[in-house]
């Protein structure tokens, strides 16, 4: 089969005045029933649909999205992709994601602009540097690349970074994952959407799930703003709306809280930094987009929130953290800031599981780091839905782990979602 997008198709369409391009996905009306309904057309819902069709041959599938594709966090994130975790359950899962990223543009025949420009965690105390050495060793033990960098090496890599002794928090070294990087978030949503659509999946926008159809305990479909739709299996993948949607199914509490994370972008600059860098004395990270804008962010707002915009104290804090690292950016103008509602879990790790009700499947708890998980999350969730049991890679990401003392707390913060 000839790829839909190629140099040849680009040329042919250019010669024909670009009139023959097909829309990347159809706009079908919902059918009365499907084998699988996926609630939520974010990155994870779309990738789940794609892998259900591609890996498991299940194509009678609908993705129901209450807004438009990309209106959730998949279109709001800062696109950092990495697999530099400490605990094996996370490392294996995110490394699987990394491997899928490495071939994703090819697999989807859609340029997701995955750029392995590296991700450097800065250490500001010897103890923190030791801790990074431990995490780096844990990563390498599982076959993931990691390397410690000295201050002199960091200075060469990022000339604009203040590594002097007079810096507010002097840099003593860092942990680099070279295979980490960034990707174009919209392209990820659109690429998965087109890949799923071309395999027969119905992507239905402006279709809000308002309730569940049930037969006793069993979930048999959903009620939506566009009518009732039945399904043998209903998969929930709604990130920041998890609590609300689960409540529609009568589940009143979840190990999840909703918090707002903000992000910022500056005016375009000439090439300034060619890696992703994270601050070690607070929550701050920065990279440069292909357009030239510096894309950066910090911590969540500090209190539970469903407002898709952020508060000023965090803006203040993020800006001062940026200037502590890059004093030279003091006069750069910020263009935009925005916020997204994140599904912060009690241990900072996700949930990809069957249940909790018969006929239901659940994917949530991505905190502010679920963009990098998009390929593996969809891949594992599709497996779980198709086979009614988890893959090895998501077997630890259960809902009942909290009650069984099997939390996966990479940062060792305890059951306080806003600290993860």
């Amino acid at each position: 089969m000839m790829a839909e997008y190629s140099a040849l198709s680009l040329l042919a369409n250019a010669l024909k005045g670009n009139k023959d391009w097909k829309p990347a996905w159809r706009k079908p009306d919902p059918k009365a029933s499907y084998d699988v309904i996926i609630i939520g057309g974010g990155g994870h819902g779309l990738s789940t649909a794609y892998y259900l069709a591609k890996e498991h041959g299940i194509t009678n599938v609908a993705v129901l999205e209450k807004g438009w594709l990309g209106s959730g966090n998949v279109g709001r994130n800062t696109t950092a992709v990495r697999s530099n975790y400490l605990l094996p359950a996370n490392t294996r899962f995110y490394e699987h994601s990394m491997k899928l990223w490495e071939n994703l543009s090819h697999d989807l025949n859609y340029n997701v602009m995955f750029s392995q420009r590296g991700c450097l965690n800065l250490a500001h105390t010897p103890a923190q540097f030791d801790d990074y050495a431990r995490r780096g060793n844990a990563m390498r033990h599982l076959g993931v690349d990691a390397e410690l960098m000295t201050t002199a090496q960091i200075k060469r890599l990022i000339p604009a970074l203040d590594v002097s002794d007079s810096a507010r928090f002097p840099v003593v070294g860092g942990l680099m994952q070279r295979r980490a990087g960034t990707a174009r978030h919209d392209a990820v949503a659109w690429g998965y959407a087109r890949g799923a659509d071309r395999r027969g999946v119905d992507i239905i926008e402006n279709c809000e799930v308002t309730g569940f159809l049930r037969d006793g305990d069993r979930i048999t479909g959903v009620t939506t703003s566009r009518g009732d739709i039945r399904a043998k299996k209903v998969a929930v993948s709604v990130a920041g709306s998890t609590g609300r949607v689960m409540r529609l199914a009568g589940i009143e509490t979840m190990p999840i809280e909703s918090h707002v994370l903000q992000a910022f972008v500056t005016e375009s600059l000439k090439p300034f930094i060619d890696t992703v860098v994270t601050f070690g004395m607070g929550h701050f990270y920065l990279s440069q987009s292909d357009k030239g804008g510096l894309v950066y962010g910090g911590d969540i707002d500090g209190y539970n929130s469903y407002a898709q915009r952020g508060n000023l104290p965090v803006v203040d804090e993020v800006m001062s953290e940026m200037l502590a690292l890059f004093p030279g950016l003091a006069r750069v103008r910020m263009l935009r800031s925005w916020g997204g509602v994140c599904d912060m879990s009690m241990d900072g790790s996700p949930i990809i599981t069957t249940g909790p009700l018969p006929g239901m499947y659940l994917n949530c708890g991505w905190c502010y780091g679920g963009f990098k998980a998009t390929p593996a999350s969809g891949w594992c969730f599709a497996w779980t839905i198709a086979k009614d049991e988890p893959h090895d890679l998501n077997a630890s990401f259960t809902l009942d782990r909290f009650h069984r003392g099997l939390v996966i707390d990479d940062k060792g913060q305890g059951a306080t979602p806003r600290l993860h």
């Binding site: 190990p255 500090g302 539970n304 000023l312 104290p313 203040d316």
Partner: protein
């Protein structure tokens, strides 16, 4: 600057405050069943709407309650905890 009115210290910059999340009834750890205790620790209602939360004015280490709309971020009311529970 956003202002939060502390019941003890009056209107202050919100920077001076820290949120401790929605108020939840704590079961008696000595009497409650394990399942209920872990539900208390690990499960949240996570309501979209108006909630009553614990806040602390950090410089004075004073804990109080605030009623806040989680959708608009508007603080509707702040009050001393004794309004809700009589001091023992």
């Amino acid at each position: 600057m956003k202002i939060l009115t502390c019941p003890m210290n009056g209107p202050r910059n919100i920077d001076e405050f820290q949120s401790f999340g929605p108020v939840r009834a704590e079961p008696d750890p000595d009497r409650t069943a394990d399942a209920d205790w872990s539900r208390h620790l690990f499960r949240a209602e996570n309501r979209k709407g108006i909630v009553v939360e614990w806040w602390r004015h950090v410089p004075s280490n004073y804990f109080f309650l605030a009623e806040r709309d989680l959708v608009t971020n508007e603080v509707l009311r702040t009050f001393d905890a004794s309004e809700r529970w009589a001091h023992p």
